[in-house]
């Protein structure tokens, strides 16, 4: 399948992948500091394991950025 992650196309040798595996594959070291948007929907953190990413999906990892001072 081909998935767009943060605007870049990526190929995977599988037909579907749970969100948590995609996070791990993209070396997101602190998933608690990321919000995941899948095709425009923000995915509930408790549902990373049972939400599947499939061919032509668009995924954004949106990072918490707390600084300002």
């Amino acid at each position: 399948m081909e998935v767009t992650v943060n605007g870049e196309k990526k190929r995977y040798d599988c037909r579907a992948m749970p969100v948590d595996a995609l996070l791990a594959d993209n070396r997101v070291e602190a998933p608690e500091m990321v919000s995941v948007q899948l095709n425009g929907r923000i995915i509930d953190r408790q549902r990373y394991r049972d939400t599947l990413v499939v061919d032509r999906d668009e995924v954004e990892f949106l990072y918490f950025m707390g600084g300002g001072r």
Binding site: L62, Y63, M65
Partner: protein, 270 residues
């Protein structure tokens, strides 16, 4: 409408020349009331640009004093201001740039029990705080009070911004549901930040404020602008209102303001 003097027409001539601003837009700026939350890395350039732009009334919320470690990026504070209240230090520079404006200072930290009273008197809020409890509090309060605002965040070489029009566009909580666990959060004081990043992001927030007031252009709504200055990559990620958003969704669970616990690390002058 405000009748500008010859001197004022000269002061604001580069705005007035802009077809999207003009004398009318400049008059709107003079009548506008903007609150800047945090007079730090983001708030400093915001305060200076809004003052220079002739925003008639600018409020500053900050309870901290200037420390030497702030001076690398908080450009409205000078070496002689170390120990002064940040709000006073910012106000001094703003009035030096433009004595015609009014600057209100609020020497407070925003809390659930004071935030509505403070933001209520303003047309637009610039959120330049350094911690998640404050970012969520500003979002929720602005949604409840229907006050538009611009969120900003910076860390290391990166920044992000989004403008929120309550009832119309995605809010901060549509994207970031609740604060991350305090122990997972690096602050500027731990992770560091390139000084100029604060200026980049603060300038974006100031531009959004001026666009909102004058009606020029299209706001940074329903999108998260992110940049990484290491390779100067900017991305504008489309967002949309989430119907399950806990504060602006169809059945909001959050109906009162929340004082979240702040992690031990992120409080000290990020």
């Amino acid at each position: 409408m405000i009748d500008f003097s010859e001197e004022q027409l000269q002061r604001y001539s580069r705005h007035i020349l802009l077809a999207d601003v003009g004398v009318e837009g400049q008059a709107r700026l003079a009548e506008a009331r903007v609150l800047v939350v945090g007079a730090g890395g983001l708030g400093a350039p915001v305060c200076l640009y809004l003052a220079a732009a002739g925003v008639g009334t600018i409020g500053i919320v900050d309870a901290d004093c200037v420390e030497i470690s702030n001076l690398q990026r908080q450009i409205c504070h000078f070496t002689h201001n170390i120990g002064d209240a940040k709000a006073d230090s910012a106000r001094e520079k703003m009035l030096a740039i433009n004595p015609e404006i009014t600057v209100n200072v609020h020497y407070e930290y925003l809390r659930a029990d004071n935030v509505l009273g403070i933001i209520g008197g303003y047309d637009f809020v610039v959120e330049g705080t350094d911690n998640f409890p404050a970012k969520f509090l500003v979002n929720d309060a602005c949604i409840m009070a229907k006050v538009p605002f611009c969120h900003g965040g910076i860390l290391r070489f990166r920044g992000q911004a989004m403008t929120v029009i309550p009832g119309e566009s995605a809010c901060y909580r549509c994207v970031f549901r609740e604060p991350p666990p305090p122990d997972a959060v690096p602050s500027c004081s731990e992770a560091g930040v390139l000084g100029a990043i604060a200026g980049m992001l603060g300038s974006i927030q100031a531009a959004e404020t001026l666009k909102f007031i004058t009606g020029a252009g299209r706001l940074l709504t329903d999108a998260l602008l992110t940049f990484d200055a290491k390779d100067m990559e900017f991305r504008k990620i489309p967002l949309s209102c989430q119907e399950d958003c806990p504060v602006c969704g169809e059945a909001p669970e959050i109906d009162s303001l929340i004082d979240y616990e702040q992690g031990g690390c992120a409080l000290a002058g990020a």
